[in-house]
Symmetry: C2
Subunit: 307 residues, 2 copies
DNA sequence: TAATATTAATTGACTAAGTCAACTATTTTA
DNA sequence: TAAAATAGTTGACTTAGTCAATTAATATTA
């Protein structure tokens, strides 16, 4: 019995071992060249930076200054780099790559590129793109620069289809509901699109992916129905449900709806607590075997602005 | 002007540089321990394998046998492992980890796990899951074990929503069509779900992701309409369109439809060629500014079984 | 079955990679 | 202006890793 986080650590380690090999493969050409990996990194860095000093490099590459000094001496002897005394600081010297150095670098670079191209060419175009996107996503997340907060926005073209899609997939997986349920959801969404003025749909996003949604539709002048409330399994239990329901409730108050109801299934305890905390009470239960399973539907109602 | 594949190589390199640092970070605790990375890998491997010999290890870890021999000697001296002569081969000796060795290993392991946990804990639960999934996907693709072929299957719950979703997103991006188009697509899909017996929808998948789809619906006894034909941008130009249209055409022949038509937009040259190659001819053009843009709709028709 | 080839593991001799502390020449700071 | 800090270099060293030779056991084959 491993905790989810331990499982993830195990997975990441597996990936690390695997990817260490991939990096090794790509670096192989460097190992075959007369330069060490550290040397290649130094050359790469000098090439990338327009002008840098030895101490810059030592800091960037986390390398011993003495060691670096010897590497640079060799590069200079081989004619790969040139050094010029800094105008502003007599102790420093500016490093720059020569034509020969650039050629050498390009050779190393091309060799490793061809390794990568070989790897890529095993994959169809689209999968290549997916691969690169996955890498970018990982980098984004691990670099800590990514905005990993969950944002809620109003719906955009495509979202309505997406909502139907996730309802179809998740309710099939979790409750074995079939095409009939999917159709029912689609119909309700179309009804909303027919007259969107009396309702709204919100989508919760995290890192560019949709992780939950909720909607409201006016049924009469004072009554609205809460619909399409769903949170992706990985994002349950982090307070997103409360945020979404709050969004809906605020909207209802703005629009002067004083009565909100919703239909749900019996047995969803987390949802029940959430509804109760917003003042909903159970008002009706009925069996429904339209959708393949003996689920019991529940209706919950709340009156607003009565406190 | 870089080719797409070069762009991807650049991206992968960027990721490699980045991930080298991540791996370095995770391995840091090993570097702080009295063991080298190679030694840690050896200990890890001995721990993982129930019983192994030195030559096993040398092969698995791609390590010099002489070097390995010395590492093992040190481990033995430190009481981390034990060796017993093999029953079946007097030259070999079976390596096994001692309690002390296991404790040492666990210490190294826990330290690197805590590094990873720190990394993970910056992210919300769901993003953690996404991270791990991305890693698994990369591993799957690069290990060459993944099935990267494109498969076509009939639709399942959720797919219909997904089709609406992708239509909404892609037609908005590519033609600036708005909610009205999304609604139109949804309505057509519902009409199909109302009576699925006279048509079918197929979905093309690659690596678990939907990369294209197509559908057909019976309009009269002998006439069917081809609909919802869309291929993800990354998967265009690889012959998938032809495969999907073929699937539809075969279905029509089976169902004795002898007349197929479709509506498309003017200017999609790749699609035009495809339709022509299946015998479709342009039969009608009309302007349509229902959906925000001055697109010209085209109708294409083909008679089957007349050759 | 004896001769030969192969394999597992070890050892000696070596090179490459990397670290550490001491040093010189500057520059910055108190 | 003296003391502290910084850039870069050098010598002496340790660690990591390679390569070829060696020993002992096993497998192969004439």
């Amino acid at each position: 019995m491993e905790s989810p986080i331990q499982q993830r650590v195990t997975e990441i380690r597996k990936f690390n071992r695997f990817y260490t090999n991939i990096i090794g493969l790509v670096n192989q050409n460097v190992l075959e060249s007369p330069y060490s990996l550290a040397e290649a990194r130094v050359l790469l860095e000098i090439d990338a930076a327009a002008a840098c000093t030895a101490s810059n490099l030592a800091e960037i590459l986390q390398i011993d200054p003495g060691y670096l000094s010897r590497i640079l001496r060799r590069f200079k002897k081989d004619g790969l780099i040139e050094t010029t005394k800094s105008m502003t600081d007599g102790r420093s010297q500016i490093l720059s790559i020569t034509e020969k150095g650039r050629a050498t670098f390009r050779q190393l670079s091309d060799a490793s590129a061809s390794q990568l191209i070989q790897l890529l060419e095993q994959l169809p175009q689209g999968a290549q793109q997916t691969l690169v996107q996955n890498m970018a996503a990982i980098q984004n997340m691990l670099s800590g620069q990514a905005d990993t907060s969950i944002t809620i926005r109003r719906h955009r073209p495509g979202d309505v289809g997406y909502i139907a899609y996730r309802h179809g997939v998740l309710y099939e997986k979790e409750y074995e509901l079939d095409h009939r349920f999917e159709k029912y959801v689609l119909q309700s969404l179309i009804a909303y699109l027919e007259d969107p003025s009396r309702g709204e749909i919100w989508v919760a996003e995290c890192c560019g992916a949709i992780v939950g949604f909720i909607g409201i539709v006016g049924i009469s002048e004072k009554t609205a129905q809460l619909r399409w409330f769903l949170i992706e399994p990985d994002f349950r239990g982090v307070g997103l449900g409360r945020k979404l329901v709050s969004t809906v409730m605020e909207y209802c108050q703005q629009k002067y709806y004083n009565h909100v109801f919703l239909w749900t299934f019996k047995g969803l305890d987390a949802a029940r607590h959430l509804y109760q905390s917003f003042g909903f009470t159970l008002t009706e239960e009925k069996e429904n075997d339209t959708w393949n399973n003996q689920l019991i539907e529940q209706r919950w109602d709340v009156m607003l602005g009565v406190d």
